[in-house]
Subunit: 283 residues, 2 copies
């Protein structure tokens, strides 16, 4: 038998994974949630049919979203994660002893429940005593927060789903307000390659640039995402993502990683010319 | 009507492009050659069913293969291109006035003929008077060459096809011999992500390390290649790919590019940890 999961990266491009079996399928108040098992990628999670993570390549996304800001901020103690119900970012964060508290705001409790049951590789540290989960809309949660966090990580799905509010000007302004005066925000920033993704990327960048004095973008290779080329935003009140990288200090932590290195950290901020141009166009 | 071209990136992963129409299909002495037109990627070329280039993203591969060594070597005048019958590397090379001669060795005349007819975007500079085309096996051609070239670019298809000999220890040794005493060789180095590609990548690296005193690897995002994550090898008798990069000089040439920048040049040599480990394992 051949069973294939396919995702349209555009109307004219399809990425397909051969599936061994479907482990879960359900509908929450917000979205359809599926978990599959595959020979190539291990288990993978989809929301409304869009691939969110696979066991084989999730380390790339989660390491790069977490360790980049953690290697720049000199003393991150209180962290907010918006979205990220699969637990991957939490897993990476909880490896830092010096972090005192992690608040996670996930709109959909079923994503967390399903991840705990079917995706233990990412959802393995959600019970850490420093982690506090709020099942709320991220935009609503952040409106009432003032100068609380050292770092905010926005790990949401693409616009169009329940994460829509997390791409608004109001949201980024609220993140700015919720950060301490040397705070950093990192967000998933879409992809520069296919036209529709690139337009979202530009819209997001324009809004973040309007809210933060420092706003840079860095790139990673995520093989199961459209074009395999994904961007993250690094927005900050004070620290520069490369000039304020403390490589020696980060390497002293002794964390083992599979994608992130402090050399790669700096290299990831060197973007292709066409991406630089797209960003400049909205700055 | 829906017409889809599909390539298996592994037995369990498929990448598919919606096709408007097939422009050419033929069989040479060496391989099956097809050209398609598509809405997403423009025209694209396949050899034995493997995607070689698309009009939409070929600039990434060709710029990064050409401008990286050209920005390092202080005075490249005589260049050898092995493979590259589509003309993309030649197009980029001919933009440098200071190059005096480019020898291109392509085993399959039909690839060149088809590219000239159907892929004018890449095959547009093959008539440059500095370009000399030899329809020969690259391995055989290079055996008799001694200290002739400043730069050799190995732009071949994957092992298994007619490019098989271009992945051997003998071939890399012959390239070393064919280079002047400050020569550079750049080669397409496969991908680190899927297991079979990664094994080829390691095998290639081991052989190049055995032939050249300096051998580094750099990475690019090529959306239509497996995993979107592709590597190039930079092997050299004398120059280091980053320390000997002359950014000021290269930028003075005033060449406009869409992917390459001298910042990206340096960044591209910062590899993910898992890739560094794979390379170290065979060094």
């Amino acid at each position: 038998m051949e069973l294939w999961f396919s995702e349209r990266h555009t109307q004219n491009v399809k990425f397909s994974i051969r599936v061994e079996r479907q482990l879960y399928s359900g509908q929450s108040e917000f979205q359809r949630i599926d978990v599959f098992d595959s020979r190539e990628f291990g288990r993978f999670l989809t929301l409304d049919g869009y691939l969110m993570l696979t066991e084989k390549d999730e380390f790339i996304y989660h390491e790069m979203m977490t360790h980049v800001p953690m290697a720049v901020h000199p003393d991150p103690r209180k962290i907010l994660v918006i979205g990220g119900g699969d637990g991957g970012v939490i897993r990476e964060l909880t490896r830092y002893e010096k972090i005192e508290r992690i608040d996670m705001v996930e709109i959909d409790p079923l994503v967390v429940e399903v991840s705990k049951k079917y995706l233990p590789q990412t959802a393995c540290r959600l019970e850490d005593p420093r982690v506090h989960i709020y099942y709320e809309d991220g935009l609503r949660f952040i409106r009432s927060v003032h100068e609380e966090y050292d770092l905010i990580i926005v790990d949401c799905s693409d616009p169009g789903g329940p994460g829509e509010g997390l791409f608004t000007k109001e949201f980024y302004g609220s993140c700015y307000k919720a950060l301490k005066d040397d705070g950093i925000m990192v967000n998933q920033h879409e992809s520069p390659f296919y036209e529709e993704d690139a337009m979202t990327m530009q819209r997001v960048h324009k809004r973040i640039v309007g809210s933060f004095p420092i706003s840079r973008v860095y790139q990673v290779h995520v093989p199961t995402f459209p074009a395999g080329h994904w961007l993250f935003g690094f927005a900050s009140k004070k620290y520069h993502p490369v000039r304020d990288l403390d490589a020696v200090k980060w390497n002293m932590f002794g964390l083992s990683t599979r994608y992130y290195t402090t050399q790669l950290h700096a290299g990831a901020f060197a973007l292709p010319y066409y991406v630089e141009e797209m960003l400049k166009h909205v700055e």
